[in-house]
Amino acid sequence: MSVLRDIKEIITGLAITFGHIFRKPVTVQYPEEQRPMPARFRGSIVLTRDPDGQERCVACYLCSGACPVDCISMAAAEGENGRRYAAWFRINFSRCILCGLCAEACPTLAIQMSPEMFHCKREIMDMVWEKEDLLIDGTGKDPNYNFYRHAGIGVVNPRGENPGEDPPVDVRTLLP
């Protein structure tokens, strides 16, 4: 009897859908509930600090050179102790394509991609982030790295006192 079989199939289907009524919905109600992003997700860009709490950025312009959409701009300045820093640093997130090339180019691990998601803005100028907006208090992905402890220029320690560094040699003493 194909009719009885059809009725049985319909009742089976109805039972399945009835069971689904009481299941937990899979919906994520976005603005209120946000799924945590994977740790290596390329979200918004941050400027990190070294373990001593100083800015890591040395304003070398490599990120802005690597940026395919030219959204990073800055001006370099130098402190009294010879430490370079960015006088201002600006990322135009309305242009940024979150490609991560700036973070790859950075020699001091200052600029990093965070898993933080962007939010929409009504004003396009709100998408332009200044250095104060970009700087975070933490060290980001490499917590022990401090560029000036490896670079051999006496900003953090006097020359020759950093790990893996020999004291500078007076070249005149080598003369014949």
């Binding site: 319909i10 009835f18 009524i21 299941r23 919905p25």
Partner: protein, 329 residues
């Protein structure tokens, strides 16, 4: 029968009350459908407007009313604007013969919870459900669009086929109750609802009202996968809203009639009659939504096959068997 002002006033109050109740119910049925369908599909559904999304119908009405009212240039303007009303009014009118509860006694007047107790209520209902087809047919034709025309042709032939089995499945009910009057049908089920005697007629009636409401699995007139939106493709704004709300009023009306014909109407133990009536209507409305979340759409030839070669002969056999049983009893 003499009429006095109290009777007229009571009648007016009843009419307004019925209007208010069914329009509110229809609006909330739309919300219920969206929520329940969402639950079936493991979603949440509209929950933003008001608590639990309870103000969503209001937001929908505001949206419908403020939309542009578009009339296609090549359409028949008169029929185009008339058709939505022709779809909605018969659905609302059907409610005038539905008994919603046991008669009340107010100020020495016996008030039946029914707008009018027609002698030929069953025929009145069948006639109205035939008239409702005009809204679909003329709406599709007046739109002057291929999709709408195809939808309305489908609607026309589908409704004619299923009207037959629906009418025939009601004949055993009338035979058992020996009356076409709704109150008599409800009273005849005082000891036992007719679904016990007539399970087959109930099933045929159920399938037919699904087709009559143009609901999945019989939603061929508005099959969105094939015909864009079927007969109301060209409609927008509140004209579309009228078609839409008419469909939901139809669901409530046919659910109410199914409970009157087969489940004993407002009769039930413990709870007050009117509560029983609305529980039964709610059960039928839920069934409509549940089936929509479950079944796929039939193909057109399957639909015709089911109607003409299966349901109609089955209903005829059922009538013969019922007659035989009544004669031998």
């Amino acid at each position: 029968m003499t009429w006095n002002y109290v009777d007229i006033a009571l009648m007016l109050v009843k009419i307004l009350l019925v209007f208010f109740i069914i329009l509110t119910l229809a609006a909330y049925l739309v919300l219920a459908e969206r929520r329940i369908l969402a639950w079936i599909q493991d979603r949440i559904g509209p929950n933003r407007v008001g608590p639990f999304g309870l103000l969503q119908p209001l937001a929908d009405v505001i949206k419908m009313l403020t939309k542009e009212d578009l009339i296609p240039a090549s359409s028949d303007r008169l029929l185009f604007s008339l058709a939505p009303a022709m779809a909605a009014i018969p659905a609302i009118l059907t409610f005038s013969v539905v008994p919603m509860g046991a008669p009340l006694h107010i100020m020495g007047h016996e008030v039946s919870l029914q707008v009018t107790d027609l002698d030929v209520a069953v025929l009145f209902f069948l006639a109205l459900s035939s008239i409702a087809v005009y809204g679909v047919a003329l709406g599709g034709w007046a739109s002057n669009s291929k999709y709408a025309l195809l939808g309305s042709i489908r609607g026309l032939s589908q409704l004619i086929s299923y009207e037959l089995s629906m009418g025939l499945s009601l004949v055993p009910v009338v035979m058992l109750a020996k009356s076409l009057r709704m109150t008599d049908i409800v009273n005849a089920q005082a000891s036992m609802p007719f679904i016990v005697y007539q399970p087959l007629a109930f099933l045929i009636f159920l399938v037919s009202i699904f087709a009559e409401c143009k609901r999945i699995p019989f939603d061929l007139p508005e099959a969105e996968g094939e015909l864009v939106a079927g007969f109301h493709t060209e409609y927008s704004g509140m004209r579309f809203g009228l078609f839409f709300v008419g469909e939901y009023i139809n669901i409530i009306a046919l659910g109410a009639l199914a409970s009157v014909f087969f489940l004993g109407g407002w009769r039930g133990p413990l709870l007050p009659p009117i509560v029983w009536f609305f529980i039964k209507v709610a059960v039928f409305s839920f069934l409509f939504i549940w089936v929509r979340g479950t079944l796929p759409r039939l193909r057109y030839d399957q639909l015709m096959h089911l109607g003409w070669k299966f349901l109609t002969p089955l209903a005829l056999i059922n009538i013969l068997a019922t007659g035989w049983w009544l004669a031998l009893r």
